[in-house]
């Protein structure tokens, strides 16, 4: 799965949780979860859980703490899907 596909999957996950759907419709890698999409902290947990399930990966609290934008999430997922 390449970056473009991961980006599309993450945007799809975010549709249920973003309060600012207009911002999501124009999402870029720089779009932030809290400020731009107005996702609250409880939904942020939901998003992390859904990303784990969608891509069959584990995301630690420390890794999740560094994810502020869609681009951060894409980079994290791609790094975990890439063969070491």
């Amino acid at each position: 799965m390449d970056q473009k596909e991961v980006f599309a999957e993450i945007v799809s996950i975010l549709k249920r949780f973003a309060r600012n759907q207009e911002a999501l419709a124009q999402a870029t890698p720089q779009t932030t979860f809290l400020k731009d999409l107005r996702v609250n902290s409880a939904r942020l947990i939901d998003i992390v859980i859904e990303i784990q399930e969608k891509f069959s990966i584990e995301v630690s609290d420390e890794e999740a703490d560094k994810v502020h934008s869609i681009g951060d999430a894409v980079a994290l997922v791609v790094s975990k899907l890439s063969p070491q």
Binding site: L34, A42, R43, I45, D46, V48, D61, E62, A64, D65
Partner: protein, 203 residues
């Protein structure tokens, strides 16, 4: 760490996702430590712990701590009167009704004043309602008209939205109180913790 800092968090239990969280694989495990998990039997139990941790997070950040995304690292005491993060202990108050939970966490000996209100205002005006509630609280404390008070946030590089925690000014001067805002669903909430009086001046 006796500097007064307060955080508050409200959860609308009628929000659709609030009712689903308990059944979601991994949600409780992500939020609660082993001890807390034994206390979660209902959505209300879960969101009480969550609100307590969020309230504590807001106060801890102002005290210089960095809990980050580690909800499990903030432990809520079984009697729900305190929270602990590492060596830091905060007082805790949890109130609520059938449809909401409101938690307030604070440091120091003074007791904060907190209020909660229902709102039907559609986003994004809920933030304005929370700020109005905060001004009403502080107006009572300061003894002035709420209209004289203004909630401001300073620009802070690196903050999640580019701004630091809220504070209140009156006629351009800082009101010496730590404050916190929260909103979720139909509810807005605010808390204020006036600064402890300093030592008497030397004569």
């Amino acid at each position: 760490m006796s500097r007064p800092a307060v955080g508050n968090d409200v959860v609308d239990l009628a929000e659709p996702e609030a009712g689903l969280a308990l059944g979601k694989r991994g949600f409780v495990e992500r939020v609660c430590d082993d001890d807390e998990r034994t206390r979660v039997a209902s959505p209300r139990d879960l969101w009480t712990l969550f609100a307590a941790k969020e309230a504590a997070y807001k106060a801890l950040v102002k005290l210089g701590a960095d809990p980050g995304f580690r909800h499990r690292a903030i432990h809520v005491a079984p009697d729900q009167t305190s929270v602990r993060f590492g060596e830091t202990r905060l007082s805790l108050s949890v109130t609520g009704g059938d449809d909401h939970v409101h938690a307030v966490a604070w440091s120091g000996a003074a007791i904060p004043t907190a209020r909660l209100a229902r709102t039907r205002t559609a986003p994004p005006d809920e933030g304005a309602r929370a700020r109005a509630l905060l001004c009403a609280i502080l107006a009572d404390v300061v003894g002035c008209d709420p209209a004289e008070l203004q909630v401001v946030r300073d620009r802070v590089h690196g903050a999640w939205d580019g701004y630091g925690p809220p504070r209140v000014e009156r006629a351009g001067l800082r009101v010496e109180a730590d404050v916190s805002l929260s909103h979720d669903g139909r509810f807005v909430a605010a808390a204020a913790l006036p600064a402890a009086p300093g030592p008497p001046p030397e004569v």
